[in-house]
C-alpha cells in the first residue's frame, strides 16, 4: 500500500517537475511546481512526518507559490515569443550532461540503500510523543540559535519590502 502510494507520488512529482521546465507559459510552470510541492507533502506523510507535511502545504504550496503567482500575473510575463536563437548545440550538450548525471546517480545509489544519519528521535519516540511536540522540543532547545537568526532574516526581508514600496515622503 505504501509502496503503491510512493510510486504514485514519485511519478506525479517527476512528471510535474519536468513540465515545470518544459512548459512555455510561466504561470503553468508555477502551477506544476505547486503540484510538485503537494506530492512532497505526500512523501512527508509516508515518512510519518505529518506535521512537516501539513506545514509544507501551508507554507510552500500555500504562501510562497501564491507569491510567485502574484508576481507572474502582475508582471505579465507572456509566453515566449519566436525563438531568436537556435540553441540546438547548447541543448544537446545539456541533454548529454543530464543523462550522464542520471547514470552517475543510478550507478552510485541504485544498488544500495543510502544510510541516513541516526539521531536520538526514532520513529517510535516521535509517534509516542506526537509530531508537533517533538518538533517543538527540538526546535526550541537544540536549534534555537538558527531559529532566531532565521527570524531576523525574515525581519530584514519585511523591512526591505516596506522600504522598496513606500512612497517618497
Amino acid at each position: 500500500m505504501e509502496t503503491a502510494l510512493f510510486i504514485l507520488f514519485s511519478a506525479v512529482a517527476i512528471i510535474s517537475c519536468l513540465l515545470v521546465i518544459l512548459k512555455k507559459n510561466p504561470l503553468i510552470s508555477a502551477l506544476f511546481l505547486v503540484l510538485t510541492f503537494i506530492c512532497f507533502a505526500g512523501f512527508y506523510v509516508l515518512l510519518q512526518a505529518q506535521f512537516v507535511a501539513v506545514l509544507q502545504l501551508i507554507i510552500y504550496a500555500g504562501a510562497i507559490m501564491v507569491l510567485f503567482l502574484f508576481v507572474i500575473m502582475l508582471l505579465d510575463l507572456g509566453v515566449k515569443q519566436a525563438r531568436i536563437f537556435n540553441l540546438f548545440f547548447q541543448k544537446s550538450l545539456g541533454v548529454i550532461f543530464a543523462l550522464g548525471f542520471c547514470l552517475f546517480l543510478v550507478s552510485h545509489f541504485g544498488r544500495r540503500l543510502i544510510p541516513g544519519r541516526k539521531g536520538d528521535l526514532p520513529a517510535a519516540v516521535v509517534e509516542a510523543a506526537g509530531n508537533s511536540e517533538t518538533f517543538a522540543m527540538v526546535l526550541f532547545t537544540d536549534y534555537l540559535l538558527p531559529f532566531e537568526i532565521i527570524s531576523i532574516l525574515l525581519l530584514a526581508a519585511v523591512i526591505g519590502a516596506v522600504v522598496l514600496t513606500r512612497k517618497k515622503l
Partner: protein, 354 residues
C-alpha cells in the same frame, strides 16, 4: 482481509454521509440565505416553490443545469475549466477531519464520527484554506478580463492576509488544550469549568478564550469571502469579480465552494470554541448507545446551523469594507491582537501551573 474490507466500507459510508450532508446543506443554505436576507430586509423571499419555498434549491439546480454553458473564446481554456474544480476540492476536503459526533458503538464496532483522525487535524484545515487561494487566482487570471484579474488578485491577497490572523487567533487554544487533534480539543472541553462553579458549566473554550473567538469570527468571515469582506466578488464594483466570465455549472461551483467553506468554518468554530458535539447533561441520560450517538450528531449540527445563521445574519448587518480598510483590519488589528492574546494566554498558563 475481511477486516480491511469492513474498514474501507465504514470509511466510504462516512464519506458518503459527510458529502451528502454537505451538498444538502449547500443547496438549502442558498434558500436559507435568501429567506433570512428577506426577513432582515422586511420582505418574504422565495416561498412559492413548495411549502415555504423548500423546493427552491431543486428549481435553482435545474435552472443551472439547463443554462447554456459558454466557454468564451478569449479565455485560457484549460485553466478556465479547472479553476472551479480547484476551488471546490479543498473546500470539501477540509471537512474530513471535523468530528461530528462521539465514538459510538454500532453493531459491536466502535465507530468514530470523523472521517480521518489525524494528529495535526487543525493544521490540515488551514492547509486546505490556504490551497483555496489558487481557485480564486486561477479563475481570475484564466478569464482574461481586467475585472476578473483585479477580483482574483484582491481575493487572494485578502485570503492570505487573514490566514495569518486566523492562525494566531487559535494558538491560544493549542496552548490550553495541548493538542492539535480536533478530537482531543473536543474531549478537553467536556470537563467542568472550575471547582467553585456549578458542575454543569463545561470547560468550553469560549469561556477561556473569548478574544480569540472574536478574532476567529472576523478572520473566518474574511476567509470565506462573506460580506463584510466580499470585495473580491463585489457586485456594482467590479461586476462579479473573479467569476464574471463563468456561466451555469462552472459558475455554480464558486458559490458552492463558498458555502462549503462557510459550513467548514462554522463547524470548526463549534468544535474549537463551543464544545463540538458535547452538551453538559447528555452523558448522564440513560439512553441506548446508538441513540446517544445520534443525539450528539444532532447537537453538533444544531450548533453549526446556529453559526451558519450568524454568517447569514452578518451579511445584511454590516456594510462592505473598502479594500484598504480590509487590509488594515487584517494586518494592523488582527495580528497584534492575536499576538497579545497568545502572550496573555501563555502568561496565565505559566502562573496557573506554578
Amino acid at each position: 482481509m475481511w477486516v480491511l474490507l469492513i474498514e474501507i466500507a465504514i470509511i466510504l459510508v462516512k464519506i458518503g454521509v459527510v458529502v451528502g450532508i454537505m451538498f444538502f446543506l449547500i443547496a438549502y443554505l442558498s434558500l436559507a440565505e435568501r429567506r433570512v436576507s428577506a426577513f432582515i430586509q422586511d420582505r418574504l423571499g422565495p416561498n412559492r416553490v413548495g411549502y415555504f419555498g423548500l423546493l427552491q434549491p431543486l428549481a435553482d439546480g435545474a435552472k443551472f443545469f439547463f443554462k447554456e454553458d459558454i466557454i468564451p473564446r478569449h479565455v485560457h481554456k484549460v485553466l478556465y475549466v479547472m479553476a472551479p474544480m480547484i476551488i471546490l476540492v479543498p473546500a470539501l476536503l477540509a471537512f474530513a477531519v471535523i468530528p461530528f459526533g462521539n465514538t459510538t458503538t454500532i453493531f459491536g464496532r466502535p465507530i468514530q464520527f470523523q472521517i480521518a483522525d489525524i494528529n495535526v487535524g487543525l493544521l490540515f484545515i488551514f492547509a486546505m484554506a490556504t490551497l483555496d487561494v489558487y481557485g480564486l487566482l486561477i479563475g481570475g487570471w484564466a478569464s482574461n478580463n481586467k475585472y476578473s484579474l483585479i477580483g482574483g488578485l484582491r481575493g487572494s491577497a485578502q485570503l492570505i492576509s487573514y490566514e495569518v490572523g486566523l492562525g494566531l487567533s487559535i494558538v491560544g487554544i493549542f496552548m490550553i488544550c495541548g493538542t492539535l487533534r480536533l478530537n482531543g480539543i473536543v474531549e478537553f472541553q467536556t470537563a467542568a469549568l472550575a471547582g467553585f462553579l456549578p458542575a454543569w458549566i463545561p470547560r468550553w473554550n469560549i469561556f477561556l478564550q473569548p478574544l480569540a473567538f472574536v478574532l476567529f469570527a472576523i478572520a473566518s468571515l474574511a476567509e470565506t469571502n462573506r460580506i463584510p469582506f466580499d470585495l473580491p466578488e463585489a457586485e456594482a464594483e467590479i461586476v462579479a469579480g473573479y467569476h464574471t466570465e463563468y456561466s451555469s455549472f462552472k459558475f455554480m461551483m464558486f458559490p458552492m465552494s463558498e458555502y462549503a467553506n462557510m459550513i467548514t468554518w462554522s463547524a470548526l468554530a463549534v468544535v474549537l470554541f463551543f464544545g463540538g458535539w458535547h452538551l453538559p447533561g447528555v452523558e448522564h441520560l440513560p439512553l441506548p448507545e446508538f441513540i446517544r450517538g445520534m443525539v450528539y450528531f444532532a447537537i453538533f449540527w444544531g450548533k453549526t446551523a446556529f453559526f451558519l445563521f450568524c454568517y447569514l445574519w452578518v451579511r445584511w448587518t454590516y456594510p462592505r469594507l473598502r479594500y484598504d480598510q480590509l487590509m488594515k483590519l487584517g494586518w494592523v488589528f488582527l495580528i497584534p491582537v492575536g499576538l497579545l492574546n497568545t502572550m496573555v494566554t501563555g502568561i496565565v498558563i505559566l502562573l496557573l501551573q506554578g
